[in-house]
Symmetry: C2
Subunit: 213 residues, 2 copies
């Protein structure tokens, strides 16, 4: 039948076709996830579904289903994608600053920019979803908590660097991490409500912590 | 027709029937709203609908619709009801303590109990919903912000009392209110995730603020 035709496809062609398919798949994935993080930051991860994504992006529902198989896989991929975007926007640029107080301040400033711009339509992805899933045990909550934990560890590491090099006063790292994370999360909501004064409050909270005896 | 029968209903009967109807209406309202606040704290105010309430309570959908007319009215009534429950659980019992530091500590302790027990199935009603509605302007967001503002004012008043009577160090009231509210909101999420250590962190944050120079 078409065996003859197939015989004409060389190995090079096969590679090229596979590459193109992979590229097309990667692009489709990118389009779907870029929209998924906005839906999740605005309406919550529960609203990230094949149907909603198809409506919002114009992609076919079956195509999205082929890419992600189940709603849970899609939701977990969305969390992963949001995590990468957060790292690109906040964590990576702060690495240019020296470890310790400088990098901590850089993390805070990049975070403020990230919450203000905002990278996600509905503001911080984690803040928007952790309050939604905190009473719902399962893989989604676990993934959100893991991403959040990573951010807490990033702050904690720079606080430890700051105290270790005597740039900052001796302080209870766990307590300070909790306080910084708390004010950032509250600031995310305040920024959504148009309260720009909150930025000064965040900066003062961090500086007071660093100066405290 | 039934005019004759109606003539036998005395004024006293009418009053009694009206009373019974009002009582029945009030009870139905209570049942619906008691369930509505739990749904809203767990799944968000968007899930508070006539259909969901009918399914959850066994009441008729038409009956609930008669009581609240529109979904928005129902959602606003739910916020009001949650506000009353919060006042009963946190604000009112704290009034037994003397104004200033004592009452502030009482507010914090009652709040911890409220978030821990919890009064609402999904934890603090405001925390659960303000992160959901912060990017959605409208009457629901306005009502949530108003309730939240009332709570901030309650904390602010006791901080001012504490500073005014020299029980606490001179401090920036607005900043301190923001910090206390931030840690309480973060604590609500942490408690949902089973982290009881957060209670000590909240207490230490408040005590550090009161002691700060």
């Amino acid at each position: 039948m078409d065996t003859g035709a197939r015989a004409f496809i060389t190995r090079a062609d096969t590679v090229s076709i596979t590459d193109k398919r992979l590229l097309k798949g990667a692009r489709a994935r990118e389009t779907a996830l870029r929209r998924a993080v906005d839906i999740a930051s605005l309406d919550g991860l529960d609203d990230v579904s094949f149907g909603r994504l198809a409506t919002d992006t114009g992609m076919s529902k079956a195509g999205i289903q082929t890419l992600f198989r189940s709603k849970e896989v899609l939701q977990l991929a969305t969390i992963d994608y949001a995590r990468e975007m957060f790292i690109d926007a906040v964590v990576r640029p702060a690495r240019e600053a020296a470890p310790g107080v400088d990098r901590l301040r850089a993390l805070i400033e990049h975070w403020i920019e990230y919450a203000r711009t905002p990278v996600f339509e509905g503001g911080c992805f984690i803040v928007a979803n952790i309050a939604r899933f905190d009473s719902k045990p399962g893989t989604i909550r676990d993934a959100l908590v893991r991403s959040h934990r990573e951010w807490l560890d990033t702050i904690g590491k720079e606080l430890r660097n700051a105290v270790g090099s005597h740039e900052a006063a001796e302080l209870d790292i766990d307590l300070a991490v909790f306080q910084i994370d708390s004010v950032l999360r509250a600031a995310n909501t305040a920024l959504r409500l148009g309260d720009e004064d909150v930025i000064t409050k965040v900066r003062r909270t961090v500086e007071n912590l660093l100066e405290a005896a």
